[in-house]
């Protein structure tokens, strides 16, 4: 079993930091685009169950397409580099974000909506003061899930020359005779970035909900992120 070459790490410290920043930029750009596009779509489909269903189902099928294949599909169209990676990452993030936000907005109870209407709120006020705040946990769960998976999928982008930490794993590790040290460093830094971003988002959600300041839910509920949220509700009757 080969050893970790510590001297390689100290010699390439600057490169590692540079690639980590590149990785964060890739994730940041993709998530910003995905959030900006997904929220309006989710808001549009919230009162239209048919389109909500279409959005959720399409997301489910498209999400299963492996990232390697998706990047490969994009290469003949946009070439290699950061473009196919960002497009691919945005696509995956969109799928998670739209379905989560749509589920969150649809699950606002009807009586709550009606009493808000009865208090004289306009459609816009209803959306911003009632529906979006109540859907916030679902929306944030989607953002966390999408961010964590984007950090991981971005590493695969290296094989279409997308840069980022995948470059340590692919160009400097696998392609140089499976050199273990850069692979291990890339894996470790990418994992740390995912964990830190996830924790930051939990903190952000806590700050955004001043009316519900419970202790930070660091582990509770996180395990629910595995299956699609809708699948965790049991059927009402037999």
């Amino acid at each position: 079993m080969p050893d970790i070459r510590w001297d390689w790490i100290s010699r390439n410290r600057e490169d590692i930091v540079q690639l980590a920043i590149e990785h964060l930029v890739l994730v940041g750009i993709s998530m910003a685009i995905a959030i900006a596009v997904s929220l309006p779509i989710a808001i549009m489909v919230r009162n239209r169950p048919f389109w909500g269903g279409v959005a959720t189902y399409t997301s489910g099928v498209l999400y299963t397409i492996p990232s390697l294949a998706l990047f490969a599909f994009l290469v003949p169209i946009v070439g290699i580099g950061q473009e196919p990676v960002i497009i691919g990452l945005v696509a995956y993030a969109l799928l998670i974000l739209i379905s989560n936000a749509a589920v969150g907005l649809q699950s606002v109870p009807g009586p709550v909506r009606e009493s808000a209407r009865g208090m004289g709120l306009t459609g816009r006020q209803l959306l911003f003061k009632v529906e979006l705040p109540l859907a916030l946990p679902a929306i944030m769960a989607g953002i966390r899930l999408a961010t964590v998976s984007t950090v991981g999928i971005a590493t695969i982008g290296a094989f279409v020359d997308g840069g980022g930490l995948g470059e340590l794993i692919w160009q400097r590790g696998i392609q140089r005779g499976l050199f273990l040290t850069p692979i291990a460093v890339g894996a470790l830094v990418a994992t740390l970035i995912a964990i830190v971003l996830d924790a930051l988002l939990v903190g952000a959600e806590w700050l955004m909900k001043p009316w519900e300041r419970r202790p930070l839910p660091l582990s509770v509920g996180r395990r629910l992120a595995w299956a699609r949220p809708s699948e965790w509700k049991r059927a009402a009757t037999g």
Binding site: M1, P2, P49, G52, G53, T56, Y57, G60, V61, T64, I65, P66, S67, L68, A69, L70, A72, F73, V75, P76, A102, V103, Q106, S107, V148, S149, V151, G152, T155, I156, F159, V160, G166, I169, W170, G173, I174, L178, F179, I183, A184, G186, A187, A190, T191, A194, D198, S219, R222, R223, A225, W226, A227, S230, E231, K233, R234, A235, A236, G238
Partner: protein, 236 residues
């Protein structure tokens, strides 16, 4: 001018469909053979992952708090460690080949199954358990006749998620030299050949989508009606 270009691009795409088919069947690239390798790798990995995951998840649900902590930690780790990194690490510390790739796929396949098996058994309704105890069931009978059947839909969901993930990640085995359809993608990219690239990418995508559809169909059929999970957000 623009119109001519569009027509030519269209003709290009038409020819490349048969090109892709030819590239897939090229005796050197051996698309059908790599597809078999891809599926074999995925199936072996899924069998191991399901066996280990279900056994460990059920055991952890019966043990104390430490076990719960370990299960949740493994689950979170499985969600945050990049799949590409796991495949590369396993191959780098052992060797290139079929079995190292399978080991990587097993490691990636375990967390969803483990977590769902654990949650499924742990969150069986306390009243149900008490009623079963009141009827005189031993611990073993309770597990076999009540807890496992009730946990079944969640376990199936876990196995389905894992199966799709394993079939998808098996594509990366090609990148680390272990065979499978990923090799075609890699070869197409390295030689700048779109037909070879797509001859790998299209089957990879189809296999993953087919796995999702197949497994959700089978498991829906196998689950007793009363235990089925709600489908879709409209079904509240």
């Amino acid at each position: 001018m623009g119109k001519t270009q569009r027509v030519e691009a269209g003709r290009d795409r038409m020819t490349s469909l048969s090109d892709i088919w030819n590239a897939f069947n090229d005796p050197i690239l051996d698309g059908p053979g790599e597809t078999v390798t891809h599926l074999k790798m995925s199936l072996v990995a899924l069998l191991f992952a399901a066996g280990i995951g279900v056994a460990a998840g059920v055991a952890a649900a019966k043990l104390g708090r430490v076990a719960a902590f370990v299960v949740i930690a493994i689950g979170n780790l499985g969600r945050t460690v990049p799949t590409f990194a796991v495949m590369a690490l396993v191959v780098a510390v052992s060797s290139i080949g079929f079995w190292p790739a399978v080991v990587g796929l097993i490691l990636l396949g375990i967390p969803p199954i483990l977590l769902n098996a654990y949650t499924g058994v742990k969150e069986v309704d306390a009243d149900t358990v008490e009623a079963a105890r009141g009827m005189g069931l031993t611990s073993f009978q309770l597990l076999g006749r009540v807890e496992l059947p009730v946990a079944m839909p969640l376990m199936f969901a876990g196995i389905r998620i894992s199966a799709v993930q394993i079939v998808a990640t098996a594509a990366l085995a090609g990148l680390v030299g272990a065979g499978g359809l990923g090799i075609l993608v890699l070869s197409g990219l390295a030689n700048n050949k779109t037909d070879v690239l797509l001859a790998g990418a299209i089957p990879i995508a189809l296999l993953a989508v087919a796995t999702e559809i197949l497994f959700s169909g089978i498991f829906r059929f196998l689950t007793p009606r009363g235990l089925r999970l709600a489908r879709g957000p409209s079904n509240q």
